[in-house]
């Protein structure tokens, strides 16, 4: 069974068994503006929660994506190399950034579900 959870840094994690896909939310995409370049992590790299995994460059600024869990990068979205704007047009689907095999089971309670995340955005505004 897959499950999608959200972080306070406006990332989404789609958990499918031992595979976690990570990207940024629609809200984050709107804040970033036109994305022109994404620095992707290296496949095979071991990441510790809090490490900088990717950098998203928009026309106006650079934003870092910190990895929210420990794990090993198993895939990156190569489509973003030529089409960084996928991150604007489809941030929560085709614009996924990278996939991890987590070092241990993801503690779902550390994250927000969709409803909690919507509430979090509203409260922040």
């Amino acid at each position: 069974m897959d499950q999608v959870v959200y972080t306070k840094d406006h990332e989404w994690l789609k958990i499918e068994g031992n595979l976690v896909t990570i990207g940024v939310t629609q809200f984050a995409q709107e804040q970033l503006g036109d994305v022109v370049f994404i620095e992707l992590p290296e496949v095979g790299g071991e990441l510790i929660a809090g490490d900088e995994a990717a950098v998203i460059e928009s026309v106006k600024a650079a934003g870092e994506i910190a990895v929210p869990i420990d794990g090993v990068v198993v895939a990156v979205n190569e489509a973003l190399v030529d089409q960084p704007d996928l991150l604007n047009s489809a941030p929560e689907t085709e614009g996924w950034i990278f996939q991890l095999t987590p070092s241990e089971d993801v503690e779902i309670s550390n994250f927000m579900d969709a409803e909690q995340y919507q509430q979090f955005i509203q409260d922040g505004e």
């Binding site: 503006g33 036109d34 022109v36 370049f37 620095e39 950098v55 460059e57 928009s58 026309v59 106006k60 650079a62 960084p84």
Partner: protein, 373 residues
């Protein structure tokens, strides 16, 4: 980026908000950085259509006096005596040690009257500077005057209809005119590299004027984000970034703004603050200078990035950088030692610990399209 009560609003604040503008503090004002269509679209729209910029945060100052030419010429290396009425010039306020206190546009309104537009972040300091050095002149800060810029290929179509007198102005000329029954001062100028106009109008009529311009379906509000990417592609300096009190106009590669008659060996040579240093730089060369860069790949190289040679020796620093929507590539400018400043020189910029290849490029990076008649 919270809305501080200390930040002022221009007359257009409510218009920006209703247009969906994302308001951010900038030089003491809440200004739109972008609208919902985004910087990329706004930038491209301006080049090929007409973009409307609120630049009311900038300082508009009238300086008047019998001795005004001589007094102002002490502060800037420009031949103001030769400036015809309704003609304008780009200029710098130089410091006693040859640096730049601010850059400005100065327009002659009458034999004894000049109209100055200075940067928002420097305006208080500039006014104090004028008051100190122009004891015989009257300094009048036009606090209740708004300023908008209409820029882009089709700006002239709008102006030709609304104020036919402005259609024949050439780049850096201005005139007093009326749009409808609104009095304003219009110049053929701007800071995007495109043909365009800047319009000074009283606060009372500012909204009515903007609404008339926005009636054209090819005219839209443009935010500070696109203003920055447009001027960067056009090779234009941003004060406080690409030049400041520690750089001379020669180092900043704006020697063209120093009038010939104020240079060594001419009848009106020197006589401005910092002349010894600045003319020395002109005559003997400089050790560092501002250049433009094209960047390999798509990763922008931004302000603060170190510029190095292939051995990793630091040669300078990037002072402005971002993605150029017209070029569809990253663009930057920065300072390097003069021996590395020739067009075509291959260097690297350090971005997050990685060396990105950059090449010194001729500025402007996108051709300017000013109307010169």
């Amino acid at each position: 980026m919270s809305e501080s009560a200390d930040n002022r609003k221009t007359m257009f604040y409510d218009r920006h908000v209703s247009a969906g503008g994302k308001m951010v503090p900038f030089a003491g004002y809440l200004m739109p950085v972008q609208y919902p269509s985004g910087i990329m679209q706004e930038h491209l729209h301006t080049r090929d259509n007409a973009g409307l910029f609120d630049v009311s945060h900038m300082g508009q100052v009238l300086v008047r006096g019998e001795n005004v030419v001589a007094e102002l010429e002490r502060l800037m290396p420009v031949d103001l005596g030769a400036l015809a009425i309704n003609q304008q010039s780009y200029a710098t306020f130089t410091s006693a040690d040859g640096g730049i206190l601010d850059d400005l546009i100065i327009t002659r309104w009458a034999e004894d009257t000049f109209f100055l537009v200075v940067n928002a972040g420097c305006k208080e300091q500039d006014i104090a500077h004028l008051k100190t050095h122009l004891p015989d002149s009257e300094i009048n800060y036009l606090e209740h005057q708004s300023l908008i810029a209409l820029q882009g290929l089709r700006a002239v179509e709008i102006m030709a209809e609304l104020a036919p007198q402005t259609e024949t102005l050439t780049f850096m000329q201005g005139c007093h005119t009326e749009i409808g029954d609104i009095e304003c001062y219009v110049t053929r100028s701007g800071y995007t590299g495109e043909d365009g106009f800047e319009i000074s109008v009283s606060d009372d009529h500012a909204l009515a004027l903007a609404d008339r311009l926005l009636d054209y379906d090819y005219c839209q509000w443009i935010g500070l984000g696109a203003r920055d990417s447009l001027r960067l592609e056009a090779g234009l300096c941003l004060y406080g970034h690409d030049m400041d009190k520690n750089t001379s106009p020669v180092e900043a590669a704006i020697s063209w703004s120093i009038s010939k008659s104020r240079r060594s060996g001419c009848e009106n040579s020197g006589g401005f603050l910092g002349a010894d240093t600045i003319l020395g730089h002109l005559d003997n060369g400089v050790s560092k200078k501002r250049v433009g860069f094209l960047v390999e790949g798509r990763a922008p190289v931004r302000e603060g990035a170190e510029i190095t040679d292939s051995q990793g020796n630091v040669l300078g620093v990037i002072t402005s950088g971002g993605f150029g929507p017209t070029l569809q590539a990253p663009v930057a400018m920065g300072y390097v030692s003069t021996e590395h400043s020739a067009v075509g020189t291959q260097l690297t910029a350090m971005v997050r610990g990685k060396a990105r290849p950059i090449t010194v490029a001729k500025m402007p990076l996108v051709p300017q399209r000013y109307y010169r008649g």
